[in-house]
Symmetry: C2
Subunit: 339 residues, 2 copies
C-alpha cells in the first residue's frame, strides 16, 4: 500500500492546559482545531502508522481539545484518541490487518494516525466498524469499572449520566451479571429506554423529589458503588444517602459546578471513600493477559448483540469544523469521524 | 474494696443524634448533661467495673454529648469515653490494678465506669496519671494515622489543627521517625512552639498568602498524606495543591462549613483519594498482638519524655457543669475530669 507524503488532519491550535473547567460540551471547534494538510507522520522504533478507517468522538476528546483533560495538548498535533484502521507501516505482526487503537503519537481525527506497536487490538472480522472504532475507551472503562462493582459484593450499583453510551454499556453488564443498575439521568423521557436496556431503577435529577424517591431504593438495594460522570451536588447528595462503605468513583465532569462535602463525618464513621477512575491508569496497571481477556469479551458482547453502538452521526473529516458541534448535541448516540 | 450503691455522674439528657454539625466547641454543658446521683452500674458477663481515677475530655466527647458523633447518645447514661482507674468488679485478670480504658457501657465522667473486660490496658507504674488517662484516644489515633504516613513512602506529611494534643503527638512521631511534619495552624503565634516540637514547616491559615507559601514547600517535600481534623476549604485547597496520589484523611470536623471539591479531575488524573479515619474502626480491625505492641510503644514514649501531655486543667467532677466550657477554651493543653 503506497503511503502519500501529506494527509488531512484536524490539528490542535494550543499547547498544554486551558485552566477552564467547562465540561465536554462544544458550540464551535474553531478555537481549538484547524483542518490542515500536514506531512504523514513517520513511525519510530516501536511505533506503527495506521490508515484510519473510522475515528470515535468521546467526551474525553472534547475535554482534551478544550485543554481540560488530564494530559497536556500538543500544538500542531492531530486530535482524536480512538479509532479503527489498517496497519500500514512500522514494526508489527499485524501489518495490513484491521486494528482498534488508542492513538498516543498522532491523533485519529486524520487520514493517518500513529501509536505504540504494543497497544494494537486486532478486530474480529464480524465486528462492525462503529463497534471497532469505539471498542477501547467506553467498553474498557465499562468493564474495568464494573469490576469495581463486582468486587463491592453488593447486589446493586448506581451510575449517573446513565443515558450515555458508556452508561448503556454499564447497564447491560449489570443486567447480564445480575447486579441491579440504579440509573440516574436528567430527563424523565430517558427512563423507559433505560429500563428496556436493563436498569432496575431510574432516578431523575430534574425531579424535585429525587432524594425522597432515592431513599427507599437505597435502603432496599444497598448499592456500594456510585459510578459518576457528572460530579455535581446531586451526585454528592446521593453519595451521602448511600449505606456504609459506599465509594464515589468519579470518572468524568459533565457538571461545571463544584460539589460540597456536606456530610464529611460519613467518611469517618461510615468508611465512605471518594476516588477517581482513569482508563489510562487502569491499562498501565493491568496485566496484558487480563487485558486480552477483557478485549475478547468486549468483542463477543458487541458481535452477539449484548451491547450495541448507537450511532448519532458519521461526520466526514472535511466537514468536522462545521458539523461536529451539532452532531455532538444528539443525546442518544455516539459520533464518529470518517476520513 | 467496698463499692457504694450510688455514685455521682454527668449523665446525658438526650438520646441519639442532634442533626447539628457545630463542631466540638461548647459554651455551656447544661443543654447536654446533668450532674446526678445514680446507681453504680453492675457488670454483666465479660464486663468490668472501674473506679475512675482521672477521666479525659477529648474533642470526640464534646461532639458526642452534642449529638454529632458517629454513635448515638443514650439518655441517662454517663458521658466520657476515656479514663484511667482501678478494676473493682467483674471478671478480669487485672482486678485491683490500674488500667486505662475506653468506656463502652457507662462513661468515665463519673465515680465509676464500665467497659469490656477484654479492652483493658494495664499501665506501667511509672506512667503519670494524665498520660494514663489519655493514652488511648489521641495516642492510638496518632500511632494508627502515622502508620498511614509511613506506608505512603513519602519523606513528609501534612497535618492541620497541628497545635492540638493529637497534632503534637503526630509532630513528635514525624520528628523521631524522620518524616518531616508540615504543620498547619490558624495563628502565627503557634509557629515557634510547633517548630520546637519538631515541625519542619509551619503554614498559617489566617495568612492571606497561605497557598503561595505552601506551593514551594509542597513541590520540594512532596507529602502524600494530609491528616485533617478541620474539613474546611483551606484543607481542600491544600489537598488540591498536593502532588499525585495524595490522600486526604479526615478524622475530625472543627470547621462548620462544607468544603467544595473544586478540582475533581485530580481524583481521576492524579489518583487522589478522600477518605476518613476512625479509631473505633481501626481498633476492631487491628490484631490484638499489634495493638499490644502499639500500646507498649505509647507508654514508652510518654515515660521517656518523647511525648508529653500538656495539662490545661483538671476539673473536679462536681465543678464540671460550671467550669468545663472555660477550661476547654485553653488552646494549648488537654482538660481532665477528677472524680
Amino acid at each position: 500500500m503506497s503511503i502519500p507524503e501529506t494527509m488531512r488532519a484536524l490539528v490542535q491550535l494550543h499547547d498544554g492546559y486551558s485552566g477552564t473547567q467547562e465540561g465536554p460540551a462544544i458550540d464551535t471547534v474553531a478555537p481549538y482545531l484547524e483542518l490542515r494538510e500536514i506531512p504523514v507522520p513517520q513511525p519510530a522504533a516501536g511505533q506503527v502508522l495506521i490508515k484510519v478507517d473510522l475515528a470515535a468522538v468521546n467526551p474525553s476528546d472534547l475535554h482534551f481539545i478544550k485543554g481540560e483533560y488530564g494530559q497536556p495538548r500538543i500544538k500542531d498535533c492531530p486530535a482524536g484518541f480512538e479509532g479503527v484502521g489498517t496497519v500500514v507501516a512500522g514494526d508489527s505482526p499485524f501489518m495490513g490487518q484491521r486494528v482498534s487503537f488508542f492513538a498516543t503519537h498522532s491523533g485519529t481525527w486524520a487520514d493517518y494516525a500513529m501509536t505504540e506497536a504494543q497497544g494494537l487490538v486486532p478486530c474480529r472480522p464480524d465486528l462492525a466498524a462503529a463497534d471497532a472504532a469505539g471498542q477501547i475507551v467506553n467498553p474498557l472503562t465499562a468493564m474495568a469499572m464494573f469490576d469495581i462493582v463486582r468486587e463491592s459484593g453488593a447486589d446493586s450499583f448506581i451510575l449517573n449520566a446513565a443515558g450515555s453510551q458508556l452508561g448503556k454499556l454499564l447497564i447491560g453488564l449489570g443486567r447480564d451479571y445480575g447486579i441491579a443498575p440504579i440509573a440516574v439521568v436528567r430527563r424523565a423521557e430517558q427512563a423507559d429506554l433505560l429500563r428496556e436496556h436493563g436498569a432496575a431503577e431510574v432516578l431523575i435529577t430534574s425531579d424535585e423529589d429525587m432524594m425522597a424517591n432515592a431513599a427507599p431504593i437505597l435502603r432496599e438495594r444497598k448499592p456500594r458503588i456510585l459510578l459518576d460522570a457528572v460530579g455535581d451536588q446531586a451526585t454528592a447528595d446521593l453519595f451521602f444517602a448511600m449505606p456504609n462503605r459506599a465509594r464515589w468513583v468519579n470518572y468524568g465532569k459533565l457538571s461545571t459546578t463544584p460539589p460540597q462535602l456536606t456530610q464529611m463525618g460519613q467518611l469517618i464513621f461510615q468508611q465512605k471513600v471518594i476516588e477517581g477512575f482513569w482508563l489510562t491508569r487502569w491499562m498501565k496497571d493491568t496485566a496484558p493477559q487480563k487485558l486480552g481477556a477483557v478485549i475478547a469479551e468486549v468483542q463477543e458482547r458487541f458481535v452477539s448483540g449484548k451491547w450495541q453502538t448507537d450511532v448519532a452521526a458519521i461526520v466526514p473529516l472535511a466537514d468536522v469544523m462545521q458539523s461536529l458541534p451539532a452532531a455532538t448535541k444528539v443525546v442518544d448516540g455516539k459520533v464518529f469521524i470518517k476520513p
